[in-house]
């Protein structure tokens, strides 16, 4: 019976079927963060239950850490209790912690692949909806809540209902300055915020094969924004090469053995999917959101839509979105003045993201009055970016260059905009008030964000670089 990649990984991880019909899926790697794990540690201790596999569990400090240079626990006062509880809980349970001052600290979805915790064909769980970021390496990852987190700590399994199978094929070749972020935003626009609900999405096609691993992670990261249960990409030589030599990856004979197995990780030719979607990326221009959910997307040359043109079910939402965003129908998005630019988050904070943005910025200056921030996804990314001189490029242009963490994506560390500010952000959610009360968020790629910072208005990076802006 031909199988999809997802089914191969799933079937290989079924431990048992519970009396309620749920399948117990073994979790090979469990990655925690400090916003939710302390509550689960406490719950387990109350129940006198132990962590089954602390050796397969990793703790990260990312959501509440300050980004100011020279930071410590107290720099973000509301984070201190979380950081301490995470530190204490991890120590009590024998879990390796990437603490705030660890040379490899950073956003859980960035650090785990970076240190080699993520392997093709492995199952992952993270108490965070962006867990499937690591699907870019061919791992099957599930986001979960706090109760499920405690469940995994105690049992090393998740009790799941089998998801449905979906495939998104990306054809064609990207134009210049078009990235995985733009493709993902276009997909969410086409499929809707619940378009992949209940499904594991496999991304395939020539455009995916051509993507660097970091781009694949951006694509899989945004899978949840169309409601997907998980998202992944069949691993190839690019993925294997990316993993080789990372500290937690297998070595020597074990590496060869793993590699042989990883080469079987692809959907069979005649495997069936419950749903398929195709997008030709060839004519895609940079994309940006205009509204307050990630499906409200336009090409950068587009004009703000007229809600009266929407069908009745979406009209009210569009009207509300425009009111919140302070935009009028018919306005070209390019040219709308902005107050802030944020480059960072688990979506777009890896080294190639920062390099692409830096190439736009190099030798130019942030527009007067614009607050522009770059927050690397991990301390490793920060160190590598500094070795490449990127911090100088950003700082010389007037950007803030921060310590690693989730920062302005959800503002859990106090990095937020002021009411009424308009922010172009490389993050994943443009929900109302997410980046601060009344902050108006436009999601876009690192290059679009960088170009916008320079002009002080939403910009088409291609025009900035060609000197036509």
């Amino acid at each position: 019976m031909p199988k999809t990649l997802f089914e191969k990984i799933w079937d290989a991880h079924v431990v048992a079927q519970r009396a309620d019909g749920r399948e117990l899926i073994y979790i090979d790697r469990h990655v925690l963060h400090e916003l939710h794990a302390p509550h689960a540690f406490e719950q387990l201790e109350k129940q006198h239950r132990a962590v089954r596999r602390p050796d397969l569990t990793f703790s990260m400090q990312d959501h509440t850490v300050a980004t100011k240079p020279g930071r410590n626990d107290e720099t973000n006062p509301s984070g201190a209790a979380f950081l301490k509880a995470m530190r204490d809980g991890s120590r009590r349970n024998g879990i390796r912690l990437f603490d705030i001052d660890d040379p490899e600290q950073g956003i859980c979805h960035v650090v785990a692949p970076e240190v080699g915790i993520v392997l093709p064909g492995a199952t992952h769980a993270v108490p965070d909806s962006h867990a499937s970021t690591v699907g870019g390496l061919g791992a099957l990852a599930f986001g979960c809540g706090t109760s499920e987190l405690a469940h995994i700590l105690a049992t090393q399994v998740m009790a799941l209902k089998r998801p449905t199978r979906m495939r998104v094929r990306l054809d064609g070749r990207f134009g210049a300055h078009v990235s995985a972020k733009d493709v993902a935003l276009r997909l969410i626009a086409e499929l809707g915020v619940a378009g992949a609900r209940g499904s594991v999405v496999e991304y395939s096609g020539s455009a995916v094969r051509a993507m660097a691993i970091e781009q694949r992670m951006t694509l899989c990261n945004l899978n949840i924004e169309m409601g997907g249960r998980s998202g992944l990409i069949a691993p190839d030589d690019a993925a294997f090469g990316w993993i080789a030599g990372r500290p937690f990856a297998p070595r020597d004979a074990m590496w060869e053995r793993a590699l042989a197995q990883w080469r079987t990780l692809a959907s069979d030719d005649d495997a069936e999917f419950d749903r398929e979607h195709v997008l030709d990326c060839s004519d895609l221009e940079p994309q940006i959101t205009w509204g307050t959910d990630p499906s409200q997307v336009l090409g950068i040359s587009g004009r703000v839509p007229d809600p009266t043109a929407f069908d009745a079910s979406r009209r009210a939402a569009a009207e509300n979105a425009l009111a919140y965003m302070g935009l009028r129908p018919g306005t070209p998005l390019a040219g709308v003045p902005v107050d802030r630019v944020f480059i960072g988050s688990c979506t777009n904070s890896r080294l190639p993201d920062l390099k692409a943005a830096a190439e736009v910025v190099r030798g130019r200056c942030v527009a007067p009055g614009v607050i522009a921030m770059v927050v690397p996804g991990s301390t490793t990314v920060k160190r590598e970016a500094e070795a490449a001189g990127l911090d100088r490029v950003f700082r010389d242009a007037g950007f803030f260059w921060g310590e690693s963490g989730c920062s302005m994506c959800a503002g859990g560390n106090g990095d937020r905009g002021k009411p009424g500010e308009r922010c172009v952000s490389t993050t994943n959610r443009n929900f109302e008030h997410r980046q601060g009360p009344k902050v108006r968020t436009h999601l876009a790629s690192p290059e679009t964000a960088a170009a916008t910072a320079l002009l002080g208005r939403i910009a088409d990076v291609r025009e900035v670089l060609s000197g036509n802006a």
Partner: protein, 210 residues
């Protein structure tokens, strides 16, 4: 987990689609390890810019001060996986959410906490929403999970479907971890097999230190 068999309470109409967890439990409300879960629910919608209560927000209206059932639209609970978005409901006495549809992780978090997620058939959903609006918090509805029935003013009882395993889990108030730990032997066997067949999965060693 508190078992769920039947719940009688005031049904609150919040008839919008796409209400996400940033609206239900804003991250800014979770600054403390143990925040006030009652106060954080829809914290932003509940307050005006000057910090005073917004009397127009449905949960602030006198008739909806003691809610029991939330009635809402499509894709409820999209976004972050934060479970505070469920704990906030329970802290306010809401033990049932009747939605047009739920985001996956949010629905899972409901089941973990004895909060009943109900999706009615489309025609029934519309009729139920109309009844909830018409009764306007004056009289309660009863949601009976054993009979899979919603009863209350303005019409006949309505039947709802829910997967049998989810129903059983809520009715029995199962300790989900305990339920899975019945399979401890199978877990240990799986680990042994995996260690033999794919040993790189059963170890996660930092090669620099060991």
């Amino acid at each position: 987990m508190q078992p769920f068999t039947s719940h009688t309470g005031i049904a609150v109409p919040l008839l919008e689609d796409e209400i996400n967890t940033d609206q239900i439990a804003p991250v800014q409300s979770m600054r403390a390890l143990k925040p006030d879960y009652k106060a954080l629910l829809f914290m932003r919608a509940r307050r005006r810019d000057d910090g005073s209560e917004d009397p127009d927000f449905v949960l602030n209206r006198p008739r909806f001060r003691n809610p029991g059932i939330l009635v809402t639209g499509h894709n409820f609970g999209a976004g972050s996986s934060r479970e505070a978005a469920v704990w906030g409901m329970l802290a306010n006495g809401i033990r049932v959410i009747v939605a047009r549809s739920f985001a996956d992780i949010y629905r899972e978090n409901c089941l973990q906490n004895g909060l009943l997620p109900v999706v009615l058939a489309a025609a029934d959903a519309q009729a139920f929403e109309a009844r909830v609006l018409a009764v306007n918090g004056v009289a309660p509805f009863t949601v009976d999970l054993v009979a899979q029935r919603i009863g209350g003013p303005g019409g006949p009882d309505m039947i709802f479907e829910i997967p049998a395993p989810d129903r059983m889990r809520l009715i029995e108030g199962l300790d989900d971890i305990g339920f899975s730990l019945k399979h401890t032997d199978a877990i240990a066997n799986w680990e042994r097999r995996s260690a033999a067949e794919q040993p790189w999965l059963q170890t996660a060693r930092d090669h620099r230190t060991s």
